[in-house]
């Protein structure tokens, strides 16, 4: 891949602020680059409200919620059981079950596996949502909610 500096010898390519790719431009006199326009400025190009009202979009939100809400409640409850049990039921948690290994240690250790399992389950579920999102956006495009670019 030819580098810009090879194509334009002698030009200083040191990064500058205020350049075309800069984050929010300095001041308000310059036109903003496309990716930096706020929601207000881009309103009108895409019919966001139209998409938001689509049955397929609502189904996507519902599918997400169906996983994320119970999963979040579960991991929060599972996690906070640890400080609550250790703090308020110390004698129970200090009970040794194998040599010096006690319930507290085993429960704390299990938290790692709980986190990993939920993460993997999430990634699996999210793959399905990706497919749903793709078809949803195709439909939105067909209904002219999205102009021009795909």
């Amino acid at each position: 891949m030819a580098k810009s500096r090879d194509k334009h010898p002698g030009i200083d390519f040191t990064g500058t602020t205020g350049s075309e790719t800069d984050i929010a431009p300095l001041g308000t006199s310059k036109k903003k680059p496309a990716h930096e326009k706020t929601a207000k400025e881009e309103l009108g190009k895409v019919n966001w409200t139209g998409i938001a009202k689509m049955a397929e979009f609502k189904a996507l939100l519902a599918a997400r919620r169906k996983f994320v809400l119970p999963a979040s409640i579960f991991f929060v409850v599972y996690y906070f059981s640890l400080p609550i049990l250790v703090g308020y039921f110390p004698d129970l948690m200090k009970t040794k079950i194998w040599g010096y290994v006690n319930i507290a240690y085993v429960f704390a250790f299990s938290q790692f596996f709980m986190a990993w399992i939920i993460a993997i389950l999430y990634v699996r579920a999210a793959k399905k949502w990706d497919a749903e999102t793709k078809s949803l956006m195709d439909i939105a495009h067909a209904r002219k909610f999205i102009g021009g670019r795909s």
Partner: protein, 520 residues
């Protein structure tokens, strides 16, 4: 001692070389701030893990476990499970709303100036706390490495601080990302090796390992020899407030990660939300394994080196390097210390960059100068001044706290501030239609203010004259942060703009319109 110093200098030079390499590849702000969004899933996972596996995790947790057993493990657990908050709730919407910083997400459908000002202040505060922790760790480390040469903790902190400030001026996001990746590989490798050596010391007999942990011998504060079971909870979190402290800490850790500006910003360095998701999972695997290993390091240090020896040689933060010295001699000590130092350098560089950029750009240009155009030289100048000031403040506070302040604990405070100030407004702007500018400002102000005031009134700062009984303010400041944001929203007449929220929801969930990776 000379091998240690030599290896140490080799590592530092290597990180500086990477910095200069990256600095030469920069082609604009998108490169400086977001590495051109060219980082892949596993690379970002390593980078995020690297950022997370800072002095706090490596030195701090090992140290806490070495001195107080099981209770230190609570930090490890919280820090890993916290990533579920990031994965399930924050990472993808953040990436899809496609901006560079946390403040950009907040400013998306809200009034930019007040929100950016508050978010900038919050970023500065969280970063300073985090940095103070790293400075304490590095000061203790350098002092131990140069043992016998008369270097005091204060001198070490100042020297390291100056080095870090210089480092930051040349570095950028690309540099810090690659330094993090390389450092993460070395840190994981070194920790794995050290853990294996610990188990080897016990003949790979897990039972005898845990038996030894059950009988740690040391001299307590009054000089009496005691034997304690380090597997039991309660050595650190004791009555009367131990249980509440644990809960408060847990809240801060679980909700703090998703509010850490310098971690969140890493999700903008990947091409899309799906990659961001994958990178979080990679990070969780690496971080989880790392934390499991550091508990072996901590227990190993308690049983093989002993708290007495550690206390006499730099304090609890030096448990892991001293363990390396005991098990692998001077070379291994040097190797581990050099990695720990590279770790700290990389993390501090990232923190200082995000903090000084946030101040120079969000606060200075948009707030103080009312959005009037500033010359590039002026903005860079302001960013540099900020780096000096932030670095200077961190040095001063680190010296004030001294080398005995456990770095994991200090970072826990940073998490409390992030969880109280940043997380409520991030969650509410993504999920609550009614949320408005007043709510964001009051939420940030309440969370930030309450957590800092409570820290200043806590036993950690005021000792026996503490007004607030807990070291970690989370259990009070996090709910208050949420309440502040909710009340601020409801009490203000601003009904927000439903059509902007529709856009945010669609963009957040579908990724349409998100900033794509650039080709250069």
């Amino acid at each position: 001692m000379s091998i240690a110093l030599l290896l140490f200098l080799v590592f530092v030079s290597a990180t500086l070389v990477i910095t200069f390499w990256a600095a030469r590849r920069q082609t604009g702000a998108s490169s400086y701030f977001a590495a051109n969004r060219s980082i892949t899933g596993w690379q970002n996972g390593l980078a995020v893990a690297g950022d997370y596996m800072s002095a706090a995790s490596f030195l701090g947790i090992a140290g806490m476990i070495a001195f107080q057993g099981f209770d230190g493990f609570m930090y490890s657990v919280g820090w890993l499970v916290a990533y579920l908050t990031v994965l399930l709730i924050v990472a993808e919407p953040l990436r899809n709303l496609g901006k560079y910083t946390m403040a950009d997400v907040l400013a998306y459908r809200l009034n930019a100036r007040p929100v950016r000002a508050m978010a900038s202040l919050s970023t500065l505060t969280v970063s300073t706390f985090y940095m103070v922790a790293q400075m304490v760790g590095s000061g203790a480390l350098v002092k131990l490495l140069l043992k016998g040469s008369g270097v005091t903790f204060e001198m070490a902190v100042i020297g390291v601080g100056i080095l870090m400030i210089i480092y930051v001026v040349f570095g950028g996001m690309l540099a810090t990302t690659w330094v993090q990746i390389i450092k993460a590989v070395l840190l994981l490798g070194g920790t794995l090796f050290l853990s294996i050596m610990v188990l080897a010391h016990f003949g790979f007999n897990i039972q005898s390992f845990f038996d030894a942990v059950g009988h740690v011998v040391y001299h307590d504060k009054t000089g009496v020899e005691v034997t304690k079971d380090f597997m039991t909870p309660g050595l650190k979190f004791k009555p009367p407030y131990g249980a509440l402290e644990l809960l408060s800490l847990g809240l801060a850790l679980i909700f703090g990660t998703a509010g850490l500006p310098h971690i969140l910003v890493r999700f903008y360095t990947v091409p899309d939300a799906k990659t961001a998701r994958v990178s979080v999972v990679w990070a969780m695997i690496l971080i989880g394994c790392f934390y499991i290993m550091t508990t072996f390091l901590g227990f190993g240090a308690a049983t093989i080196v002993g708290p007495d020896h550690i206390a006499a040689n730099g304090g609890n933060n030096m448990s892991a390097p001293l363990l390396a010295e005991r098990l692998g001699g001077e070379v291994f000590f040097a190797f581990i210390s050099a990695i720990a130092f590279a770790t700290i350098l990389a993390v501090v560089a990232g923190l200082t960059i995000s903090a000084s950029t946030s101040f120079a750009h969000d606060f200075f240009s948009n707030v103080i100068k009312h959005g009037k155009a500033q010359t590039p030289e002026k903005e860079v100048f302001v960013a540099r001044i900020t780096a000096f000031v932030v670095g200077g403040i961190a040095i001063a506070i680190a010296i004030l706290l001294g080398e005995k302040a456990n770095v994991a604990f200090l970072v826990g405070l940073a998490f409390a501030v992030a969880a109280s100030g940043n997380l409520p407004v991030i969650v509410l702007t993504i999920f609550w239609k009614r949320f408005n500018t007043a709510g964001a400002v009051s939420g940030l102000a309440t969370g930030l203010g309450v957590s800092i005031i409570l820290i200043l009134l806590s036993p950690a700062v005021r000792g026996p004259h503490a007004i607030f009984p807990l070291d970690n303010p989370g259990i009070v400041s996090i709910p208050l942060g949420f309440i502040g944001a909710i009340l601020g929203t409801l009490l203000s007449g601003d009904k927000g703009k439903p059509e902007l929220y529709d856009e945010l929801v669609v963009r957040g969930n579908t990724g349409h319109g998100a900033e794509k990776a650039s080709s250069h």
